[in-house]
């Protein structure tokens, strides 16, 4: 019996100790913000691994050459105060003066050159080497002027420079400490300094009081890694975290009702689409079938019923958040027209069988959207077999052209035309579903080299029209990024998916 009693005592004790940890109240005083993300960063080294989660955290430590306006997504100054085109293959950047890295090392042209050298060095195994392949050399004109010389005209250079593709490393520290040390203790010019990274648990940063644009309002930023949505949600509602990423549409109401947090949404530049695969034999070879599917899928219904209105419909391959966007007309939802087109192409809708591949949990309600699309096509009599894949398998299948007739995919951040059109509409690209159209190939090759803004706009407008005509996809929507934000934090998400805490304010309520 004594055993029983002590067991009881132990469980009681555990119950008492279970009281909530240091709560939101203390964090208001100390101006600390805790953000719940789904995954941890993969490295602390800048310009090494392309990964959204990694970079959104690293950007607090490192600055980029250029920023993007959170509203218009146009490039704007950051570590570079200005830029100009010297000639077709030379870009010149004027650098900000008086900026210091967290270790006191000054930022100058050497930092830019060292960063480019690091990422282009094969030993660094940096993903970014591929993005910057066209850059031949970095010329230092004076300590605060650098030139990037490219092999051929490359108008999208400025887009690359304002993404996360150029987080600037300290030249001297890189040389003296080496990448391994910097990975353990990153040094940047950013608004926050590294404190500690406990793997699979949290990354802690503290305010950089000497930040060139003025210190942030938030004194301490903690990223906590909570993979499960329901766990993140509970953490938000119990005050363990202040900002929660990826609130699913069906609990938006529950968050608002809780009184502890509010929903903040941004229309993301990331798009979701249903690829109609013409790179393998099957009914999708015929543009009439692809158009029929476009008429049969009711995107508005999917948005309303599955995503509870939390998505913005798109009609072509680029969204309005993309700088190269040109409007195209939507395919109307018209089942009769769809059936007629199918018959015209020689298919009896009632006998047509299609396969749709979808990932699960990668994009908002991806699997459920796919199943709902199947249900919509079923109304015409088309039998759709939905195959749910693990993410790695999904990528393998797309790469090996082993998917069914259709597959679900998301793409982003999709802020400039080349980044969408080039990899997704040509047969020789890894994740393409459509290709072998000589006209489109030729237009793409041309569009990506046009430096003149007007010519570029016209070229991308034509490509968007062609993609629409060819019905290469059923374009679905721009994702809405939904965040739960505790009521004592003032912060709004951005279209480029950055969780940028420099903009956040902690207010006492």
């Amino acid at each position: 019996m004594r055993g029983l009693r002590s067991a009881l005592a132990v469980s009681l004790l555990l119950g008492l100790l279970a009281a909530a940890p240091a709560g939101a109240q203390d964090r208001v005083k100390s101006k600390e913000v805790v953000i719940g993300l789904g995954a941890e960063p993969r490295t602390m080294l800048a310009v090494t691994i392309v990964d959204w989660t990694t970079n959104t955290q690293l950007e607090h430590i490192y600055d980029r050459l250029l920023d993007r306006d959170p509203k218009t997504l146009r490039p704007k100054p950051m570590l570079a105060t200005g830029w100009r085109i010297v000639n077709d293959t030379t870009w010149e950047f004027t650098l900000r003066q008086g900026v210091k890295f967290h270790n006191g090392e000054p930022f100058d042209a050497q930092s830019v050159k060292a960063t480019m050298d690091y990422l282009k060095n094969p030993a660094s195994k940096s993903h970014y080497a591929a993005y910057w392949r066209l850059v031949k050399e970095v010329q230092i004109v004076d300590p605060y002027t650098v030139r990037l010389v490219t092999e051929k005209p490359w108008p999208s250079l400025i887009d690359r420079a304002s993404l996360t593709d150029f987080l600037v490393l300290p030249a001297k520290a890189l040389r003296e400490l080496g990448p391994e040390k910097l990975n353990q203790h990153p040094i940047g010019t950013g608004p926050f300094r590294f404190v500690e990274w406990r793997r699979d648990e949290r990354l802690v940063l503290e305010r950089n009081p000497d930040y060139w644009a003025g210190p942030a309002d938030v004194a301490r930023v903690t990223f906590r890694f909570i993979p499960e949505f329901s766990a993140r949600m509970a953490a938000l509602l119990s005050g363990e975290i202040d900002i929660m990423k990826d609130v699913p549409p069906h609990v938006v109401e529950a968050v608002e009702r809780s009184g502890r947090a509010k929903i903040r949404a941004a229309v993301s530049s990331r798009i979701n689409y249903l690829a109609l695969v013409n790179l393998k034999p099957g009914p999708m070879q015929d543009p009439r079938v692809r158009r029929a599917i476009n008429h049969a899928v009711n995107v508005d219904e999917l948005i309303a019923q599955v995503l509870k209105g939390r998505a913005t419909k798109i009609c072509g391959p680029l969204s309005p958040a993309n700088v190269d966007y040109a409007p195209v007309e939507c395919y109307t939802h018209d089942p009769q027209r769809a059936a007629a087109l199918l018959r015209e192409a020689g298919h009896d809708p009632a006998k047509l069988q299609l396969t749709l591949d979808t990932p699960s949990g990668r994009y908002p309600l991806d699997k459920d959207v796919s199943l709902a699309i199947a249900a919509q096509l079923q109304r015409l009599g088309i039998k759709v077999n939905v195959v749910v894949n693990e993410w790695g398998t999904h990528l393998d299948k797309i790469k090996n052209r082993n998917t069914g007739d259709m597959f679900f995919l998301g793409w982003g951040p999709a802020v400039f035309g080349q980044g969408v059109i080039e990899p997704l509409f040509q047969a020789n690209q890894t994740y393409s579903s459509y290709g072998n159209n000589p006209l489109i190939n030729e237009k793409i090759a041309k569009a990506i080299t046009i430096v003149d803004p007007k010519g570029r706009a016209a070229a991308y407008a034509e490509l968007q029209r062609l993609a629409h005509e060819e019905a290469a996809w059923v374009p679905l929507w721009q994702q809405h990024d939904l965040y739960g934000v505790a009521s004592h934090v003032e912060w709004s998400p951005r279209a480029d998916e950055k969780v940028w805490m420099y903009d956040a304010k902690v207010v006492a309520r």
Partner: protein, 266 residues
């Protein structure tokens, strides 16, 4: 008590599994977006609906079918393969026995569930592959038990006598030894059955194994996590069905062991 509950619950599950198409009020795959996330007790949907408006009762009933199918196939496969290997290893003592025991050691150096999951992650997802992975991880138990039994049966006099009379090896194996080890196989099979069902559910829950939209209890539970805040029933009913089935089959296995082979340890 054991007998009553074990046989009773198992029988009910079996009936449900076989009769699912007649018992289920709806097609378990049919989505009806307008009817999504209805709570239990909604007219026409006794246990409520899921995020796509699919009827939960139908999905739970069909889930029984899938669970028993996977459990049954796996038990059959492991019993036949493991049993045969055990027979051979017990009979032909020299190197086949050594090799078999070495393989068994390798497998037993790893927790069962982790082994099955690893194999499944590698051979790929889906119904057929989960049966194969569970079998690949589970046959060892039979091989060990059967080999042990064979070794002891072989010492018995009638086997010696039969061998002395010039009865062929194969004949000896199947006529004299097999009937003697059969009860052990039956007991191990019944005890393994519920382990396989729960393991399948666990693996599907972790994202391997059977994938949606197939109504497997494990993957239904996995999906339910996203809706825990708004629809508790999606997690409660498939899990309860799984626990109840495991309970019945466990009791049945216990009872069989008490009856047939009380000394057996698995």
């Amino acid at each position: 008590m054991k007998k009553f509950l074990g046989v009773g619950v198992t029988l009910v599950t079996l009936v449900v599994a076989v009769a699912a198409p007649w018992l289920a009020p709806h097609d378990p795959l049919r989505a009806d977006l307008v009817q999504s996330l209805k709570p239990p007790g909604t007219p026409g949907h006794l246990l409520g609906t899921d995020q796509l408006g699919r009827d939960l009762l139908a999905r739970v009933l069909y889930g029984a079918r899938l669970a028993l199918f996977i459990g049954g196939c796996t038990v059959l496969l492991t019993a036949v393969v493991g049993g045969l290997l055990g027979l051979v290893a017990g009979f032909v003592e020299r190197w086949p026995s050594a090799v078999l025991m070495r393989i068994a050691d390798v497998q037993l150096s790893f927790p069962f569930i982790l082994l099955a999951m690893t194999i499944n992650a590698i051979v790929g997802l889906g119904l057929r592959n989960i049966i194969l992975s569970l079998s690949a991880a589970g046959w060892v138990v039979y091989a060990r038990v059967v080999r042990g039994e064979v070794l002891s049966v072989k010492q018995r006099e009638y086997v010696h006598a039969a061998a002395a009379l010039g009865v062929g090896r194969a004949r000896l194996l199947f006529r004299h030894v097999l009937p003697n080890v059969a009860p052990s196989i039956v007991v191990v099979a019944s005890l393994q059955f519920s382990q396989f069902i729960v393991a399948e559910a666990a693996i599907s829950f972790l994202g391997f194994g059977v994938q949606p939209p197939t109504p497997a209890w494990g993957s239904m539970l996995s999906e339910s996590r996203d809706f825990l805040y708004v629809a508790w029933w999606l997690a409660a009913f498939p899990g309860a069905a799984l626990a109840l089935t495991a309970l019945g089959v466990n009791l049945l296995g216990d009872w069989l062991r008490d009856r047939l082979d009380p000394k057996l340890r698995v």
